[in-house]
Amino acid sequence: MKSLTINNPRHFITEKETSEEYYCEIIHGLPAAIYTCDAEGYIKFYNQAAVNLWGAEPLIGESKWCGSWKIYHPDGTPMPLDECPMAVAIKEGRIVSNQEIIVERPDGSRHNIMPHPQPLRDKNGIITGAVNMLLDITDSKKAENKLRQSENEMRLELETEVDARTKELNSLNEDLKKSNSELSQFAYVASHDLQEPLRKIQTFASRIIQKEKQNLSESGKDYFERMQNAANRMQTLIDDLLTYSRTNTAEKIFELTDLNLLLREVKSELEQNINEKKAIININQLPELNIIPFQFSQLFTNLISNSLKFSRENIPPQIDISADFVHGKNIHIKESDNQKKYCRITVSDNGIGFQSEFNLKIFELFQRLHGKSEYSGTGIGLAICKKIAENHNGFITAYSQPGKGATFNIFIPAEN
């Protein structure tokens, strides 16, 4: 027991304190299990806490290495007593740390133990045995397991919840897609099928005027003309609606297109209207862009037709079309992406313009700023322009002041 002598230089050591009996008493009273073995592994000394831990008294001169009845590895496989950490410490002359074992008592109860065996040497360095302190970590182990279990349960619960939410969102998303596509299908079918009865009304009306005109009174003829006008307006409305819904449903095939050539075609299609209005159209050098050509023709047709329609009285319309490249961060519109570069196509005119408060509203479906008798129109043209810009992952803006012309900017993401 010499090795257990506590040398504290600041402590005044009495005779009684140096006696072996005294130290034995102290060690017996410690709550930690402590025991020693000699060089051959026989248990020499142990305290009460060790007896409590083992669940039995070892037999002095018989019990070796470990006072336990049976021991196991942490995974539950049996561990031979002569391979226990204490045996390793004596046989190999080293401290064994962090090797947890499971101790089984004679009554079958099991405890998780962390041994701390340390070899003892004489002054020549020869191993004389070892001292071992056994810490019962069963409770902290249980707590740890419980924590891990509840952590797992919580994670599982969370994962289940996240899964359920994801599924719900996916299904909502699907529903939304479906109802969106149903809606555009509906718009298409409705406008398409409305064409037929309308065509009949117009055709038979034209037949009556042709064959029965002489049988109608003056007011009868007037009513008839009004009816035909209304039918013609409805036809324009249906045609525009069809174009609008086709912009949604038609296949989007992008092609690298020279905007100069495309605009030349648009101009020649509008030639009659342009000549009637004595309009001047200035087209600056435009770039090649990856676009849906058919839709871009529609976009320019709508914008130019608008400028021709909303021109000032007795002033020939002038329309300027140009393009440049701008960085998203310089655009300052919520739709623009700061990481992207855009091609900005500008169409401006010298027409009647509109109040700036309407610069968003004019792109809504069926929005009109003028009475039917002043300017004809369905309020669909600019909604189509907006849809087309969006189909190209871009956007369109409008600026104007009454009497000062209008400017439309189309922003299309530019590659490189």
Binding site: H192, Q195, K200, Q202, T203, F204, R207, Q210, Q235
Partner: protein, 149 residues
């Protein structure tokens, strides 16, 4: 009317109004024609396929018909040896680009958009009847395929 006027005209049209208008156009144009009408695609194919039937000179075919639509009839006609040389002129309310291309690929020889005015209809039928379609056999170029007013 030139000599090439077809005198045996078959119209496949389920709509009574459109049939009436078609007949009135023929009357007003004074086309000397033997005119027959069928009301759906099944009736049309049955008539064309019956062994003793004399084939018409030209078929005017509506697309939107019950039981068997115009497109299905066209495909069948072009697959049948006895019928495949029969000129098929499509009549439709729709001027949708995809539909027009689809009918061209299936082998129709003309696509007529039903007009909104009787006078236009008359003009179209007159011009169709006076054109020497044999020059464009079996199909005209795509630019001349659709007639619209």
């Amino acid at each position: 009317m030139p000599n090439s006027v077809p005198h045996h005209i078959l119209l496949a049209e389920d709509d009574d109004d459109d049939s009436l208008l078609f007949k009135e156009v023929l009357n007003e144009l004074a086309v000397p024609a033997n005119f027959i009408r069928v009301k759906d695609g099944e009736e049309l194919m049955h008539l064309l396929n019956s062994p003793n039937n004399k084939l018409p000179d030209v078929l005017f075919l509506d697309i939107n018909m019950p039981r068997k639509n115009g497109f299905e009839c066209l495909v069948e006609i072009k697959k049948t040896d006895k019928l495949k040389n029969l000129p098929v002129r499509v009549l439709s309310t729709s001027s949708g680009k995809e539909l027009v291309s689809k009918m061209y690929s299936a082998g129709a020889s003309l696509y007529i958009c039903k007009p909104n005015h009787f006078a236009h209809f008359k003009e179209i039928i007159h011009s169709v009847m006076s054109t020497k379609w044999s020059l464009f056999f079996p199909q005209p170029p795509f630019e001349k395929f659709m007639v619209q007013m």
